[in-house]
Symmetry: C2
DNA sequence: TGTAAATACCTTGATATCAAGATAAATTAT
DNA sequence: ATAATTTATCTTGATATCAAGGTATTTACA
């Protein structure tokens, strides 16, 4: 039996539940708690770099989605908000903001008059190209302290988890 | 080389970056993307059960923190908002709301007049006791489809990840 | 060809959250 | 004992988000 080097915040939570409600098997809380807490701490680390480019995470998300779709960097709003897991109303606000910053522009959709396509401006393209490079550097640095075997285990587990959640979601 | 059964949403994103920016090693985006996306999909699954008890996730979080602290289920606001990773201002709003729902009550702190302690009411205690049981059932069910080895890998990876993030955070 | 149904947004109103600043009490250093 | 500093909240103002509902188009099909 290998002793854990140091208890993390979630270990303490599980200890408390174990003491208070020994009738419950709270093991899954450990998995989900660490997942959520890791996601929160990670976001803070990512925000630091985005801020250096005058951006927030949500702005990065939208611009990056357009960028990686390839030239001409142009998508319909529905494509964007379904990829980003946000509502259409939220997308409307984001696009208005990005448009007023001059990072995207709207143009008529020749195939469907209900939508106005969203396109990266030259300024938006340049910004996201530079930001994504710094972002990739950042996340390499963040994951660097992890042992290779831990990272490998994490990837294996997350692939299974996301696969499960997405297949449950489409039902 | 084992072929992946089915591509998830993050695989598609990585494919796009690979095509558009082959100069970047975007592997870490896969890990972080799945982590974030899993967290988002999980929250939806958890919300379903909380809603059955007339609660939201944030209400559950506060009440559960008080409950697992043990009798007399009473903590200072600072203890709560640091555990919950939210700001003091947000905590103020949450407590006001929970107090008006009759789930917590405030009382003077004999040791420190700057804070007013937060305590579960009988109603709050009963509600959280019942909700946490349903929640634990829920998360057991959610993780059930995962193969034991995948779950084990996930736990190993998340312990390493959170440990790394927390140690980086305290610096 | 017309209609009914579905789709693609956008608008509105309500929440939840945060950052920054204000206030009051406790602690620390003279 | 005082003054300076730190701590524990709460307040305020700005954002981001969602759910629900409205409008204009498109698609399905009788």
């Amino acid at each position: 039996m290998k002793a854990k080097q140091q208890k993390d915040a979630v270990d303490l939570i599980l200890d408390q539940w174990e003491r208070e409600r020994p009738d419950l098997d709270v093991t899954p809380m450990g998995t989900l708690g660490r997942l959520k807490r890791s996601a929160a701490l990670l976001q803070r680390r990512l925000d630091v770099v985005f801020a250096e480019f005058g951006m927030t995470l949500w702005e990065f998300d939208v611009l990056a989605t357009l960028r990686r779709s390839g030239a001409p960097y142009c998508l319909a709003p529905t494509e964007l908000f379904s990829t980003l897991m946000i509502t259409s109303g939220t997308m409307t606000h984001r696009l208005k903001s990005l448009e007023s910053s001059g990072l995207v522009e709207r143009q008529a959709n020749p195939d469907d008059a209900r939508s106005k396509l969203v396109k990266l401006t030259d300024k938006g393209l340049d910004l996201i190209n530079r930001t994504v490079e710094a972002h990739v550097d950042n996340i390499h640095g963040i994951l660097a302290p992890l042992a290779g075997s831990d990272l490998q285990a994490l990837d294996q587990g997350l692939v299974a988890m996301l696969g499960m959640l997405e297949s449950a979601d489409e039902k």
